[in-house]
Every structure is written in structure tokens, then in C-alpha cells.
């Protein structure tokens, strides 16, 4: 138990913050503590969670990526265009196209970082501008509304009518999110590749001496984020029922903040899928609560920023300081 607390300090701190916020919102609003609202939260957070678990893999491997959100926009646009050419397609074809395009864009980043030894933040700020610039240039900022029917039809996986006559629904994005989360969890904790990614992020020189293929690590990490970004792009197009070139612009910083909040370390070697999800949920629960409380949307960013700051301070404070009884037994020497 003590060891669990020590090794999951960030996750526990986040859970505590989320619990406090939830209790507060349950009393402050009458809508928050309902099944419908909980499902809504999941539906709206799905895209960000998919982005987040992808970014987590890059952070674990010691990199950072600023370009994934606009890459997802590029993927959305290209996928919609290609689907138009081939005359419709279906979900499987859509995912194959979006996933492949996403992986390709991720590999561009990996190639720049590994091939030319450019540090990842500089490489991805460049590709962020290039991707977004190309997209705006070629589309002229025009959105696509004419999407295939299968892509714009809402898929409800579970529904229940509430006492007040509203419907609580879980939709397709949640299932896709769950698959992405499980796949990422399996990759980073259950496969040798995942452990090599952690080792590479933790101590690149140590990893190199073990004969780990450093280039492969970069391509796997950025490729995985590309895959997740491609999938998230398609899911977002489905959710919004349109493709707007700048719809995801700016999303990268929200996701990055949530992932770091969830305990991933800028610098590599540390981070968990659970922390990542909790980080995204904390931000979306806060926004959702502010919404329900009728707070002006102009104040959202400010309050979300303050909550992130508070949560990160709490999780950086050593667990021994917060819970002094844990200190009683030290590591055996």
C-alpha cells in the first residue's frame, strides 16, 4: 500500500483534486451529478484522450510534439478528400486512410529529429507551421461539409432514458477512445518495445549501450502519436460532422498541459496512461462544471489555468510532506 502511494503519487493527487471538484459541483449544480452528464463528459473528452495517450508515448521517449493537432487537421482534410474520390468508403477504410496518413506525418517528425539531430521541440514547431501553412494555403480556409453519410451518422452504443425524459448516451468515440487507451497501455507496459521506450527516455546513453535501436525508438514514438492523431482527427470529424481546417488549431497545448498534469515528464522516462486520462478529465470536468454553473465562457481559460497550476503544485509536493505518516519507514539500506 505504502509503495503504491509512493509510485502513484501523481495519479492519487489528481484523483483527490477531481474528487473535490466533483463533490463541489454536485452540490453547486443540479445537473452535474447525473448519468447523462457523465456520459456527455466521456463523449466530449474522447478526442482529447486519444491525442493524450499518443502524446504520452512521445513524452515517455523523451521527445515533445507540437504538431500533432494540426497534423490531425491535415489528416481530416486529406481523408475526407480521398473518401470523396473513392466514392464513400466505410469506417474501416476511413481508419486505414487516416491512420496511415497520421503515421506518415509522425514519421516526418521522427525523420527530422533522428536524421538531422534537430531537438524535437524545434522540429515539431517547424512542422506545426508547415502542416498548418500548407493546409490553409491549399484549402483557402474552406471547410468540408459534404462528408460521407457513415461518417456523419451518430452511432449510439448504449442509451438509457432518464427520469426527466432526456437520454443518456454513450457514442462511438468512447469505444474508439477505449481501444486506443488499451492499445497504448499494452504497448508501453506490456511489450519489450514499450519498456525500451521508457529506458530510452530515461537515460538515452544507457539505452544506447544496451544496443537499443535509437532511430527505431523515435519512429515508433512519433509514429504512434501520428496514428493516434490520425484516428483522433477522423473521430473529431465524425463528432463535429464537418471538417474545418483550423478546428484543432491550439488543441496541442491543452493536450500537452493535461498530459504533463497527469505525471508525464518533459524530458522522458515517466508517465502513465491512467495519469494521462485523469489529466484530460480534470480539465474537461472543470470546463463542464463551469458551463453548468453558468460562468462566462470568457473566464474558462483563466480558471482552467489556475486549476492546472494548483493540481501540478500538489502533485509535485512530495507525498511525504502531504502524508507525514508515510515517512515512518524509509527505504532499507
Amino acid at each position: 500500500m505504502r509503495r503504491f502511494v509512493r509510485s502513484h503519487a501523481t495519479e492519487l493527487a489528481l484523483l483527490a483534486v477531481i474528487a473535490v471538484i466533483c463533490v463541489f459541483l454536485s452540490f453547486a449544480t443540479d445537473r452535474f451529478f447525473t448519468l447523462g452528464n457523465a456520459f456527455d463528459l466521456l463523449n466530449t473528452s474522447s478526442v482529447n484522450i486519444i491525442f493524450a495517450v499518443g502524446l504520452l508515448v512521445v513524452l515517455i521517449a523523451g521527445g515533445i510534439d507540437i504538431s500533432f493537432a494540426v497534423a490531425a487537421s491535415v489528416v481530416q482534410y486529406l481523408t475526407a478528400t480521398v473518401l470523396g474520390w473513392i466514392g464513400g468508403g466505410n469506417w474501416i477504410v476511413g481508419f486505414i486512410i487516416a491512420g496511415a496518413l497520421g503515421v506518415a506525418l509522425g514519421c516526418i517528425n521522427a525523420f527530422l529529429i533522428h536524421g538531422f539531430r534537430i531537438i524535437s521541440i524545434v522540429a515539431t514547431i517547424s512542422t506545426f507551421n508547415i502542416f498548418f501553412g500548407l493546409l490553409m494555403f491549399f484549402t483557402g480556409g474552406v471547410s468540408i461539409y459534404n462528408l460521407p453519410d457513415w461518417l456523419t451518422t451518430r452511432v449510439v452504443l448504449f442509451e438509457r432514458e432518464m427520469a426527466d425524459g432526456t437520454w443518456a448516451e454513450i457514442t462511438l468515440p468512447v469505444l474508439i477512445m477505449a481501444i486506443c487507451v488499451f492499445a497504448t497501455w499494452a504497448l508501453i507496459t506490456r511489450t519489450t518495445t514499450g519498456r525500451q521506450l521508457y529506458a530510452f527516455g530515461d537515460n538515452p546513453e544507457g539505452a544506447r549501450r544496451f544496443g537499443i535501436n535509437i532511430g527505431a525508438m523515435q519512429f515508433i514514438a512519433f509514429g504512434w502519436l501520428g496514428l493516434m492523431a490520425g484516428i483522433a482527427g477522423l473521430v473529431q470529424a465524425h463528432y463535429a460532422q464537418e471538417v474545418v481546417p483550423n478546428a484543432l488549431y491550439g488543441r496541442e497545448l491543452d493536450v500537452l498541459a493535461a498530459v504533463v498534469l497527469g505525471g508525464a515528464r518533459l524530458g522522458g522516462g515517466k508517465g502513465s496512461v491512467l495519469g494521462c486520462i485523469l489529466g484530460v478529465l480534470l480539465v474537461s470536468i472543470t470546463q463542464n462544471g463551469l458551463n453548468l454553473m453558468g460562468v462566462s465562457p470568457f473566464a474558462f481559460k483563466m480558471i482552467v489555468g489556475a486549476i492546472i497550476l494548483a493540481a501540478i503544485t500538489l502533485s509535485n509536493t512530495s507525498i511525504e510532506r502531504l502524508l507525514p505518516f508515510l515517512k515512518s519507514r524509509r527505504v532499507p539500506s
Binding site: 506490456r190 529506458a199 530515461d202 549501450r209 544496451f210 527505504v331
Partner: protein, 504 residues
């Protein structure tokens, strides 16, 4: 096992090298070196920086290919040269000085990391990892919580983890490069115990260390290299620290205690009843102008904490400090520097010097106000200040603008001392000034210290190596658990008596 090897009929060596030559850019790094390790022995490789120790290790582990004519016999096989793959596959392991561990991963994963290496991705078998790790630790006679992340453990235990990792590859020969450089005395003792267990289980250990006390304690034989050539192989029994130093440097050093009469010299620092709960308690001491006061003691004795308090970086709970007759109470180390206190940090690499910056910039960093001209830094004044210190302290450098990291340990330490002398201190606190400095260069540093004392500076010399304070301080205080428990005058007390008191 090793003793038997020395006395009776010698067993076949596990490793034997002959005629090893290496040249780098026209410089002979190894000249006709031969080297031999017996199964299960602890063998020390001694030599100053640049004597060829690391080159020799790299030849044995296959990193370098020696020139033609070299003969390498290992475990019954002959090789013209090694390759890293053959070396590892046949049980030669190196524990690098920087350990190459993964702090965020668990102990088990660090030890058994080899099991997740491989060409194709597989599922991780955590149970197997734990089993392998626990086995390796058991062989070393230690028990750890293998499920805890490595960063929770102190550096000495991480060393053990690095050794355990080397063992899972069925090691027969383990090289340890300066394993104790960043350890305190008690941590070192712990590590040496592990090395003994390792040797008892039949693994040969080649130990490289600057600390000669350890070399004498742990090894059965010592091979000495100087300037890339073999000086000789000696049984440890009968060797002394000064003898090894002579062999390593080719020079004889005059070890004698200081005899300075300072009874009439005015008191520079007077500390009365200084306490910081949990760190040190009721410390009183005086240092006179021109005096070197040694402070020694084991880990956790509170030496560095005391020094940092005198330097204004920590605030005492009670007690008083007077400098040059005036009571002082420092709010920060800036106050302390202004009042004339200088503190040479124990960790030169990360705290004392800014490694990637130029030598000149490092030297003036604590005294920038002295080289200002019209509010801006004057490069002429900087240059002349730096030249003066380089000359006075005999620092050997290429150019002033070279990065500090290009210098040897001894020269880096001289720059660090110069940095503080440039602030015109009255009191100079030297915390472990010879860590990572060659024996030959140590003497040079203590020459400087002695000259500084003669020029009227009051000096506090902190070291956990008793001989160092014995031969270089006028008086020595012994600290243990935050208190001063003894005072010695070198000469009046023997070195042996002092060592017994401190290491007891």
C-alpha cells in the same frame, strides 16, 4: 582463493594480455603492456589520469582494437583482439562510472533489463524479471525492494544495482571504473563488502580507484601503469599508500605534518555553540589567520551542513559566529561572500563550476563587480585578473576561452580555487577539494593551500580522508553525528590513532 594463487602453484589466469600497443593520433596510449587476472581475485589497476587504465579496459572489452602483435588469452581461448559482443557473451562485464541505469524504472527492471532487449517485440515477463533480479541481488548478499523505482535509492545502492545487472550475464570478469568516486566512507565500506562477496563466488573483479586506501583494503594484487607503460604487478600485502603513489607518479612525496606556530596569530573565525537541529549541535571552533583547520568525520557527521551554514546558505538555530572580531549573521551567501567567506563546494562537477563555460568566465563569476568598467564587464580587466590567477596557481590551460570541461580534475580544482580567491576572502572553506583529483595533482593543490595560509588566509579543510587532513592541517576536529567529538594535533597524535578514532 587469491591468496592461494599468490603462494602456491599459480592457477591458470582467467585473462592474460601480452604486447598490447595502442596509438592515438601519434601518441602512444599503451606501450607493450601485459596484464593478468586470476579467477576470482580482486585486482586493482592503478595509475594517474592518462596512464592508460581506461584504454586498457577498452581493449579488453573490445571497444578498441590493439595494434597487431597483441595476444589476448581469456578463459582458455586466444584472441587477436576482442569485440564488444564476444566480450559480453563470454562473461566480461564493465560497470561504467556513470552506471547507465534507468532511475524511473524499478530495481527489478534495471537489473534484468537485458530480458527486454531483442530484435523483435515480445510481451514483457515481469515475474521472470523479478526472479532474475532477486537472484542476482542474493548472490551479492543484499536484499532490496525490487519493485520500487530506482530513484528512491541512494547512489551507493544504485552502484549495487549496476553490479547486480552485470551479474545476470553469467559474468566471470567484472571491471569497476571508479565505483566509489561519489560515495562516502560508510557507503564505500558497504560496496567493498559486496565486492568481497562477488570475489568469493568466483567472479574476478578489476577495480580502478583513485582512493588508495580502498585499493589496499580490497585487492590481492595491484597492477600499476604510468604513461601508458607497465610499471609492475605487486602483491597488495606489503604495499603502502605512499609506495603506490610513488609507483604511479614516479616521484617521491615528502609527507610531513605542518609545524607552524600560530599561537600569536589573531583569531579570524570564532564560532560559539552553533546549532541546527538534525544537522549539527553546539559546534564551537576557532580558526586563526594563517591557520588551516581540518574537519573530518564520516557521512552524516554534519561537516558540509556546518560549512554551508558558515557560508550563509543555511541559517543557524542558535549560536554565534564572529569573523575578524566582528559578530556576523548572514542572510544569504551573498552576505557571506561580501564579508570575506569563500566556500569551495564538495561537488565540483555539478555545483562548483559551470562545465560548458569558458575557463575565464568560470574564474571571474564570483567577483564580477571587480571587473566592471562603467557598469559593464571589461574584457581587459577580466583577462588580466584571469592571467594573474593562472600564473599564481600554476593552472595548465590551453586558452582562457576553452571550456572548463577540457581541463583535468586537478586543474579544474585550481580554477575553482582561483574563482574564490578572486573575491579576496578572509576565510576559505575547502569541502573535499581532492575528490576526483589525481594523487600527483593533489600535492599541487595542497601546496597552494599551504601558500594561501602563509599569506594570512584562514582555511577550513573538510575531508573524509584522514591522511589528507593529517598532513595538511594545523589542527584537526573530528565530527560525528553533528557534534565535535575530538581535536587532534597532527604530530602529537599519530595518523594511525587518528584513523582508528574516526573510522571506529
Amino acid at each position: 582463493m587469491a591468496d592461494q594463487a599468490l603462494d602456491g602453484a599459480a592457477p591458470r589466469p582467467l585473462l592474460s594480455l601480452r604486447n598490447v600497443n595502442m596509438t592515438f593520433g601519434g601518441v602512444k596510449a599503451l606501450k607493450n603492456v601485459s596484464f593478468e587476472v586470476l579467477p576470482g581475485e580482486v585486482h586493482c589497476l592503478a595509475g594517474e589520469n592518462g596512464s592508460g587504465k581506461s584504454t586498457l579496459i577498452k581493449v579488453i572489452t573490445g571497444v578498441y582494437k590493439p595494434e597487431a602483435g597483441a595476444e589476448i588469452d581469456y578463459d582458455g581461448q586466444s584472441y587477436p583482439h576482442m569485440s564488444p559482443v564476444t566480450a559480453q557473451a563470454s562473461g566480461i562485464q564493465v560497470i561504467w562510472q556513470d552506471l547507465a541505469l534507468f532511475p524511473e524504472m524499478t530495481v527489478a527492471e534495471n537489473i534484468a533489463f537485458q530480458t527486454v532487449i531483442g530484435r523483435w517485440p515480445r510481451l514483457v515477463n515481469y515475474a521472470e524479471m523479478r526472479r532474475v533480479a532477486i537472484n542476482a541481488l542474493q548472490r551479492l548478499g543484499v536484499t532490496f525492494d525490487v519493485d520500487l523505482a530506482l530513484h528512491h535509492f541512494p547512489i551507493a545502492q544504485r552502484q549495487i544495482v549496476a553490479i547486480a545487472r552485470a551479474l545476470i550475464g553469467e559474468a566471470k570478469l567484472v571491471f569497476m571504473d571508479e565505483p566509489t568516486a561519489s560515495l562516502t566512507q560508510s557507503e564505500t565500506d558497504y560496496l567493498l563488502d559486496v565486492v568481497r562477496n562477488l570475489s568469493a563466488s568466483g567472479v574476478a573483479v578489476v577495480f580502478v580507484s583513485h582512493r588508495l586506501a580502498e585499493v589496499l583494503e580490497i585487492s590481492s594484487r595491484v597492477t600499476v601503469l604510468r604513461d601508458g607503460a607497465l610499471v609492475g604487478v605487486y602483491p597488495t600485502k606489503g604495499l603502502t599508500q605512499s609506495r603506490i603513489t610513488e609507483l604511479m607518479t614516479g616521484k617521491t612525496f615528502d609527507y610531513s605534518v605542518l609545524h607552524r606556530d600560530l599561537s600569536r596569530s589573531p583569531v579570524m573565525l570564532e564560532v560559539k555553540g552553533l546549532s541546527r537541529p538534525g544537522e549539527f549541535d553546539d559546534v564551537s571552533l576557532t580558526v586563526r589567520r594563517g591557520e588551516t583547520l581540518g574537519i573530518t568525520g564520516l557521512l552524516g557527521a554534519g561537516r558540509t551542513e556546518l560549512a554551508l551554514t558558515l557560508f550563509g546558505m543555511r541559517k543557524p538555530k542558535s549560536g554565534s559566529v564572529a569573523l575578524d572580531g566582528k559578530p556576523v549573521r548572514f542572510g544569504s551567501n551573498r552576505d557571506a561572500i561580501a564579508a570575506g567567506v569563500a566556500y569551495l563546494s564538495e561537488d565540483r562537477l555539478s555545483l562548483g563550476l559551470i562545465q560548458p563555460q569558458a575557463i575565464a568566465d568560470n574564474m571571474v563569476i564570483a567577483s564580477l563587480d571587480k571587473i566592471l568598467s562603467g557598469g559593464f564587464i571589461s574584457s581587459d580587466r577580466k583577462r588580466s585578473l584571469v592571467n594573474r590567477w593562472i600564473r599564481d596557481l600554476g593552472v595548465r590551460i590551453g586558452k582562457q576561452d576553452d571550456a572548463i570541461s577540457t581541463l583535468s580534475g586537478g586543474n579544474q580544482q585550481r580554477v575553482a580555487i582561483a574563482k574564490w580567491l578572486a573575491t579576496d576572502p578572509k576565510l576559505l572553506i575547502l569541502d573535499a577539494p581532492t575528490v576526483g583529483v589525481d594523487v600527483g595533482a593533489r600535492a599541487g593543490i595542497f601546496d597552494i593551500v599551504s601558500k594561501l595560509a602563509d599569506s594570512g588566509l584562514a582555511i577550513i579543510l573538510i575531508s573524509d580522508e584522514v591522511p589528507e587532513v593529517y598532513f595538511n592541517a594545523d589542527r584537526v576536529l573530528h565530527m560525528a553525528q553533528g557534534r565535535i567529538v575530538g581535536e587532534f594535533t597532527p604530530g602529537a597524535t599519530t595518523l594511525q590513532a587518528m584513523e582508528e578514532a574516526v573510522y571506529a
